[in-house]
């Protein structure tokens, strides 16, 4: 809501500067975003008349003008504006004037020569003066403007616009009158009322009823439209220009001037908050109906857009059909035009519930809907109609017919009384405020207040739509009393049993492991590119957004790799050649939201090194990281990592993690070369992902006795067919070794000279120990024999000679 400070001062006395007022309002909950000047801070611009216009001999687009600024002599000014013509009055920046376009350097207007013609000063457009973003031509002033008068004084440009960010509960503040009421409450000043509005014209503002014309009003949606008033006015001259003061006030309120009639409707809306609509009487048939739309009814709106009206939408109609979307926008066919002379003015109370969300259904945002959605004072209907009528008669001529009004049984401007107990007020705010001060604040806010034994009985004014509970009143009291004056105290706490247990595994615990292992956390969007999603996880159903912010952020991720790979790609493009990235967060399918953690690695395991042991990250370094994560469960034995195929992974270098229930709880491997190629990544990248919903609890560790007896280690060098899985062999060996096995360790894999083609050599170390005694050689040999036998039977393993 843009409010002219100057206009506001006509409604309430203000002792503060605009900046101080902004601070005051902000602290009362009406947040002032910005204080804006209504024009640039220029000097030396006066009103002048263009006496004659000649084409510049050297330049087609330039005119040579003789300009009268009221000093008795004429100035020659070269002008490029297309709308320059003899007889118009325009702003004239004299020689010596200073223009300051907002961010630019001040510009001193000097005597100049333009294509050989001397030019003394400059004729200005609204944009030249900071009164518009851009202009088509010169700002044309009314014929009555006084030659030589300073433009700042004439247009009262020493004004400030307060741009107020109103919260949705404060529909009552969507007008000069509303803001003035608020200022009055805060400053303890009296405020103009509907019966006492300032007169911006030089005429007396009264409405003489000289006609008897009527248009019957039928309210057929009595719950939605409590009250509908209208009046016929005839013989208006809508070709008269809107007075410059009104144009300026509309402009400062952010509304474009259209025609006298429309401008007056908008002016009254800005002034008192009642949206009004003027119909061209000539287009209306016998009566006005307020009703919900019927299925299939259509309307061409003021903005020329044709819509099919939904049955939940309240409309104004005549016998022929819809005329307007009630409280939202008028129709094109019944709109006033410059030629309009006779109108029907509508002033109504549409209930917020009947308007809420409707404009948005048609992708419309209008000043009227904005106000009706938030609540327009039902007591404003007649006063606003009278105000608009008076302004019309004064500024556009015409003859008025009597006001017609219909009220329905729902019309109930008086609110239910609210009981506010003193004790409750103190309990909520944490302080007992003096009763007299509370009552004073409540009264200043326009409430009717009666003292009771326990507190106050309060009736809110008709313009407040956000007052129905004692809490609403407490907020008002606190707001006006001043939040900064209220006490602050550290809360007292009762201890409670935490619901987080020692064995709970949070995502952050897993993340901590990765950070310690050199991974850098990334945070990527949860919505991703459908194409990348399809490359990474083509077989999982995806959830798509109806209104994505961009086509490449349109589907919800089903795993974390697309985001991480995109982040990696970004870094590779910036000369990064080694990276370890991880992310944790939710992944989404149409039915589930799963927490996951994933990482990927690229390049050398350590920075390029002087050291001999530098090596490249590979599947096995990745596997170590995965095992470190699984180790958090303190129950590693429940997991196995087995070869498996994933669309995003290299078919020969991929595996899945399975838990003891046989569920897949994660994946690891090298990314598929085709996927990397699609991302223009030329190096191998390894990645893993674990499903955290399967890893929520660690096993509570239980002490196992320690053996004081010596361990024995025996090694086996075995030759097996080359496709034998080491993991299977180790598992087999462990089982065959029995209960004394403490550790089993694969320490060498060899293929090459000395080993037959199609075979490989594996070296396994077994560590044995007994809890109660030293193992004998005989016992150990027997164990080793068992192991060897089992490996022979299952894998055709032979001892390497």
């Amino acid at each position: 809501m843009k409010i002219s400070y100057q206009w506001l001062t006509e409604f309430v006395a203000i002792n503060q500067s605009p900046a101080q007022l902004a601070e005051l309002l902000t602290h009362a909950g009406l947040e002032v975003d910005d204080c804006l000047p209504v024009a640039d801070n220029f000097t030396g611009v006066v009103i002048a008349e263009v006496k004659s216009v000649e084409r510049h001999p050297e330049a087609e687009r330039l005119s040579i003008c003789q300009v009268d600024a009221g000093e008795g002599t004429l100035h020659t000014v070269v002008c490029a504006a297309p709308n320059v013509m003899a007889g118009i009055k325009v702003p004239y920046a004299q020689v010596g004037a200073i223009l300051r376009q907002q961010s630019a350097e001040p510009r001193l207007i000097q005597q100049a020569t333009l294509r050989g013609v001397p030019s003394a000063g400059m004729l200005c457009s609204a944009a030249d003066l900071g009164m518009a973003e851009n202009s088509e031509g010169l700002l044309i002033l009314p014929p009555g403007a006084l030659l030589g008068e300073d433009l700042r004084a004439y247009l009262q440009l020493d004004d400030t616009i307060l741009d107020i960010q109103l919260t949705p509960n404060r529909g009552d503040c969507l007008s000069i009158l509303g803001i003035a009421r608020e200022v009055g409450v805060l400053n303890r000043e009296s405020v103009r009322t509907l019966t006492n509005l300032p007169n911006p014209t030089s005429d007396e503002l009264t409405v003489a009823v000289t006609l008897t014309d009527t248009l019957p009003i039928h309210i057929e949606a009595d719950q939605a439209c409590w009250r509908y008033a209208g009046r016929i006015i005839k013989n208006i001259d809508n070709t008269r220009p809107t007075p410059i003061w009104m144009q300026e006030r509309l402009r400062r309120g952010g509304i474009r001037s259209i025609s006298l009639i429309v401008d007056i409707m908008n002016y009254v809306m800005l002034e008192v908050g009642q949206p009004l609509h003027a119909f061209d009487l000539a287009t209306l048939s016998s009566a006005i109906h307020v009703r919900y739309a019927q299925v299939g009814e259509t309307l061409t709106l003021l903005d020329s857009q044709s819509i099919t009206i939904k049955p939940d939408t309240l409309i104004i109609a005549d016998a022929k059909g819809p005329l307007a979307l009630a409280g939202i926008m008028g129709g094109l066919d019944s709109a006033v035009t410059p030629a309009t002379t006779d109108i029907f003015i509508e002033s109504a109370f549409f209930h917020p519930d009947a308007i809420l969300g409707r404009a948005r259904n048609y992708a419309l945002q209008t000043d009227a809907a904005h106000r009706f959605e938030r609540g327009v004072d039902p007591e404003l209907t007649l006063a606003a109609l009278e105000r608009a009528s008076a302004l019309l008669l004064a500024l556009g001529g015409g003859n008025a017919a009597p006001v017609q009004e219909k009220q329905t049984s729902y019309f109930r401007p008086n609110k239910d009384p609210i009981i506010l107990e003193t004790a409750f007020l103190a309990k909520v705010l944490g302080i007992s405020l003096p009763a007299s001060e509370v009552a004073d604040i409540l009264r200043r806010l326009g409430n009717t207040v009666a003292e009771t034994a326990v507190g106050w009985k309060i009736t809110a004014p008709s313009y407040r739509f956000d007052m129905s509970l004692a809490e609403d009143m407490i907020e008002e009291v606190a707001r006006i009393y001043g939040y900064t004056r209220l006490p602050a105290q550290a809360p007292h706490l009762k201890m409670t049993m935490p619901f987080v247990q020692q064995q709970n595994l949070t995502a952050e615990k897993f993340a901590q492991i990765l950070v310690a292992r050199g991974y850098q956390e990334a945070i990527t969007y949860s919505f991703i590119d459908p194409q990348l999603q399809n490359l990474c996880d083509p077989h999982t159903a995806v959830l798509s957004l109806v209104n994505p912010i961009a086509s490449d952020l349109a589907v919800m991720r089903t795993n974390l790799w697309p985001g991480l790979l995109s982040a990696l790609q970004y870094n590779i493009k910036r000369q990064c050649d080694r990276a370890k990235l991880f992310e944790y967060g939710l992944c989404f399918t149409p039915t589930e939201q799963q927490p996951r953690i994933a990482g990927l690695m690229l390049g050398l395991a350590y920075p390029e090194k002087w050291h001999a042991n530098a090596f490249t990250n590979d599947f096995y370094t990745l596997k170590a990281d995965v095992l470190a994560l699984l180790a958090l469960t303190q129950n590693m034995q429940q997991f196995v990592i087995v070869p498996a195929q994933h669309p995003a992974l290299h078919p020969g270098q991929s595996a899945k993690v399975i838990n003891h229930q046989g569920e897949t709880i994660g994946w690891l491997g090298a990314f598929h070369p085709q996927l990397l190629q699609a991302l223009e990544i030329k190096t191998t990248v390894y990645g893993f992902e674990l499903y955290l919903s399967a890893l929520t609890q660690a096993k509570l560790p239980q002490y196992q006795p320690l053996s004081p007896f010596p361990q024995v280690r025996r090694d086996l060098a075995l030759i097996v067919p080359e496709d034998t899985l080491a993991g299977d062999m180790l598992q087999c060996a462990r089982q065959a070794a029995g209960e004394w096995i403490m550790d089993i360790n694969l320490f060498d894999v060899y293929q090459g000279p000395g080993i037959a083609e199609g075979y490989k050599s594996l070296a396994i170390g077994l560590t044995l120990q007994h809890l109660q005694r030293t193992l004998t050689d005989v016992e150990i040999d027997a164990v080793m024999q068992n192991v060897m036998l089992a490996l022979q039977q299952q894998f055709a393993a032979e001892l390497r000679q």
């Binding site: 409707r358 956390e521 982040a567």
Partner: protein, 328 residues
């Protein structure tokens, strides 16, 4: 040979012994089974009985003296040898380190942890909720019925089936109130989504929601806690803090909290808060006459930007490793 000569010879032999092996040879020569001192002792029997005692005493003194000298020399040589070995094992300790490097947390996570730590110490617990929500949790249960203008203020992402991406962390309040009886103290950090993207808006960002419900919780408690928190977060108590009236459908009274850092001219909005609206409580079957509470919500990005001096929101989502490593 005079015993004094023997002693002198032995002393010089000990002193010239250059290593432990040579020294041991000297020991064998004098004190070994066939050593010169041992021989002298064996020859004592040849002396007249009256001389034996004095001579024996003298020889034993020499023996003891030599043993001490050898031990001293041995210690000397051992220490020289250790020094030589240590000198040999000297390395260039300024060569770069080798091994796993430490990784790092995203600055948003760092800020989130910092925020959560404060409240955890005050007995709040972490709560979580889904990111895909229904209209009920995101709006309706938060006293924001259909078509409420406040819904339009959140540019919400929809899935077309009544579900949406939560536009704030406040729905976690509802989940907590549904499953927990007062006293309640929770904070809920997490991702939130709004259909808005420019230099100062990201379609995905992070909030931390807080909720405290108990008997006798007042607006003064809320103010007090917000002050404690902001002083904790910025690690200083000279920050100016002001509460200003505002509006959220699910709190009343509501407030925005602004801060002004020392030396700064402008106030910055850092969080929104208020007393839980009685309708929110009573809709969930909590006796709003007996219990009261407050809720607050803050944007992690804004706080992280202030704390770490980040001047461009978009840096948080580019995941440029150079940027991320600045926080390690």
């Amino acid at each position: 040979m005079q015993i004094s000569t023997l002693l002198e010879n032995a002393q010089s032999a000990i002193n010239v012994a250059e290593d432990l092996q040579a020294l041991d040879q000297v020991r064998v020569n004098y004190l070994g089974k066939k050593g010169q001192v041992t021989l002298l002792l064996k020859q004592l029997g040849d002396l007249a009985p009256e001389q034996r005692a004095a001579a024996g005493q003298e020889i034993n003194q020499v023996k003891q003296q030599l043993a001490e000298l050898i031990a001293q020399r041995q210690a000397q040589l051992q220490s020289a040898q250790l020094a030589a070995t240590l000198a040999q094992q000297k390395i260039d300790v300024t060569l770069p380190a080798f091994g796993l490097e430490y990784g790092g947390w995203h600055p948003i996570t760092l800020a989130k942890q910092h925020i959560c730590n404060a409240f955890l110490q005050w007995g709040f617990q972490i709560a979580e909720g889904p990111e895909i929500e229904t209209e009920y949790y995101n709006f309706t249960a938060l006293n924001t019925p259909d078509n409420h203008p406040a819904r339009a203020m959140h540019d919400t992402f929809y899935f077309g089936d009544g579900r949406l991406l939560r536009s704030h962390t406040s729905p976690v309040q509802i989940h907590v109130l549904e499953r927990t009886a007062p006293p309640i103290r929770v904070i809920a950090p997490g991702r939130v989504y709004r259909c808005d993207r420019d230099a100062t808006h990201s379609p995905m960002f992070h909030q931390v929601e807080g909720l405290m419900v108990d008997e006798g919780v007042s607006f003064a408690d809320l103010r007090g806690l917000m002050q404690l928190f902001l002083h904790y977060f910025f690690g200083r108590d000279d920050i100016e803090i002001r509460l200003r009236p505002s509006y959220f459908p699910f709190t009343e009274p509501s407030a925005e909290v602004d801060i002004r850092l020392p030396g700064n001219e402008h106030w910055l909005e850092v969080l929104g808060c208020g007393m839980v609206h009685p309708k929110v409580l009573s809709n969930l079957g909590i006796d709003a006459k007996r219990y009261s509470g407050f809720a607050f919500g803050m944007g992690i990005e804004r706080l992280a930007m202030l704390r770490y001096g980040v001047d461009d929101l978009r840096l948080f989502y580019a995941n440029d490793l150079r940027f991320l490593r600045e926080f390690n």
